[in-house]
Symmetry: C2
Subunit: 433 residues, 2 copies
Amino acid sequence: MKNSEFVDRDLKTVWHPCSQMKDHEFLPMIPIKSGKGVYLQDFEGNRYLDAISSWWVNLFGHSNEYINSKVSEQLETLEHVILAGFTHEGAVRLSERILKIAPQGLSKVFFADNGSSGVEVALKMSFHYHKNRGETRPYFISLKNSYHGETLGALAVGDVELYKDTYSEMLMKTIQVPVPEDQKEESIWEPIQELEVLLEKRSHEISGIILEPLVQCAGSMHMYHWRYLIEVKRVTEKFGIHLIADEVATGFGRTGKMFALNHAEISPDFMILSKGLTGGYLPLSLVLTTDRVYREFYCDYTLQKSFLHSHSYTGNALACSAANATLDIFENENILNSLSEKMKFMKRELEKFQKLPNVKEVRQTGMIGAIELQGYKWEDRIGLEVYKYGLENGVLLRPLGHIVYFMPPLSITIPEMEKMISVAFGGISKLIQ
Amino acid sequence: MKNSEFVDRDLKTVWHPCSQMKDHEFLPMIPIKSGKGVYLQDFEGNRYLDAISSWWVNLFGHSNEYINSKVSEQLETLEHVILAGFTHEGAVRLSERILKIAPQGLSKVFFADNGSSGVEVALKMSFHYHKNRGETRPYFISLKNSYHGETLGALAVGDVELYKDTYSEMLMKTIQVPVPEDQKEESIWEPIQELEVLLEKRSHEISGIILEPLVQCAGSMHMYHWRYLIEVKRVTEKFGIHLIADEVATGFGRTGKMFALNHAEISPDFMILSKGLTGGYLPLSLVLTTDRVYREFYCDYTLQKSFLHSHSYTGNALACSAANATLDIFENENILNSLSEKMKFMKRELEKFQKLPNVKEVRQTGMIGAIELQGYKWEDRIGLEVYKYGLENGVLLRPLGHIVYFMPPLSITIPEMEKMISVAFGGISKLIQ
């Protein structure tokens, strides 16, 4: 089959996410037939190196044999069972294993289906915790330039205008505080001070602060120093508000450690996981929290303090099998140790970009690298030029505006990284000519 | 392994959905080892007939061989690919097939991961549609006693106090109108009149009305006449607001037709599907809409009218394969025709309950049957007694308060229905003694 036949059918029926569909009058829509390792292949045999892990989810390559075998096994025994009043081995094993590697103090696991739903669970639980203690605290704090998902609660704590402004009349009011402006340690103090000043005045009406640790991924891959997390932890304890860590994108090795919080060695009150959790296979999210939070809901039913949130597929057995297989690979293949060479390689390669006149800054946190372009207007849509160049040269890059970035599967090899980075270099260089 | 060992591990780590965890000091937590057909089996070999389709998702039995084979095939080619700028066969085929069987006029498919996220997509799209036309319409109408999910946007259009009241300070304001009070046709006129009076005054600030057609499932399985849907359709057209049909629970044969809207032969502006969509296998949801809506977003990107909603696993290839397999079964096994005998059987059996002194009413829509108990206070938690009796006798019933209901897999046989219903009868009768 030709790509074009397939694309015609697609464009008649599918409304794609996060897309202006009219763009596809000039932008190719790529129909994928199969995936293997870091490569996706279309119906005409063209291959694309998946430099963005298909929206930051894939960890160990497409159609991974080991994960496939585990999901297949699960199909033969149990595809799904309601998780209210019932449980199953995959959900319990996954919970035990995640709690074992999560920051200390996290001791309970609540299940949902995607990152947005996980964020909503954490927000509702945090608010409800205070209410169960007799306090109504309707506000949440988040960082400027933050992104936490697309459902209305998650969107409300976000701060990316592009996604949020249209819906402002539908959103609960939240408070944004400054994020450190760069990765230097000295940049953290002003934002921390501003947070403290705010909490001195308003902590009694604030449930918690939510943040993406170290990297604001959909927020232009903005990065900041881990010391900020230590200070935020101190401040949230001082003022008695919750620290909610959104590790949906940063979790599972992306930052070079299992979780971004590990860099600061702190424990949050809530931690949200999704994306890489299933190795890029299936939608699943987890909200981890503490016994302290759990106990505030644990009482006779008639006191009406229960957390009555649910999704039909909560704790889905197939998704849990993919997640357990993903943890197996982390353990069996010593993945985190294998990353240091790749991170060093990325660092060295990124320096080359710094010399290009249209590059403002390069930055890196673990296996995430970003190149910020300069000298263009947003209407130029310069990222699309790099995107098209990437596709023509066999690499799926998907710049965020004028930020070209890499977030490849952790299993990528050095030669594959070389290809990925050199194509990005070519695409950015071409803009100058 | 004994159930109890497993349950101990579970209760140390998992915070279950929609549960007061303290209940499990006296209520059994059932660890499921495997599922086959309508039965779930625990670690000690006890079997439970899944009378509620594991939260209304399962259609053709657990660990269904055909669906298993199709998901396994998919594992070998492509587990997942980003759906922005990319597409794959399963998503396109599923979209084409769903549009072919959906009410006329629906022509585009947007993907999400669960029912709540699907509802949020529809609400945002409806609001955004009006905004793209220069109108800000911040209100949505829903029916009294309605339920549409748990994320904050979905929760805001719900009206079940139990789920909603705690979070009132976090929710956007919405408007509830009366739902017809029973299944008689004559009950629809007062609610319709009230809706018209409201819209006469306020339609300019209202984006749309959202409803579950025919059955308010989480709303105590309250049921109403299909004629109401025809009148709502007329009214929404008259006043230029959207009709949003939440068929998350009612879709895929539950009401005896493919979609509940088919009973009224009307087309909505948005239709949300999930639960049965994948046969009970995997989280996936679809929002279907019209060309009219689609075109209002289709323009040059710089006009900033794009719908920039996304979830990482949007259009997940594995979930699409389960959904396509589910549609195969509907076609190949002529499922809808096979239901009439089962529905008649349920009707006959439900009549027996009517004679019990603690039964207020029985009601049925297609394959959904409900028995409303009377003479108890909510604190009696009488549903729990029926739940425990069910488990002791090998049937998973999960009453909603004092409503005992059946929503079994469509593949259930008459003898299996007989068992399911007789155990429910036993449990309800026992309450009288």
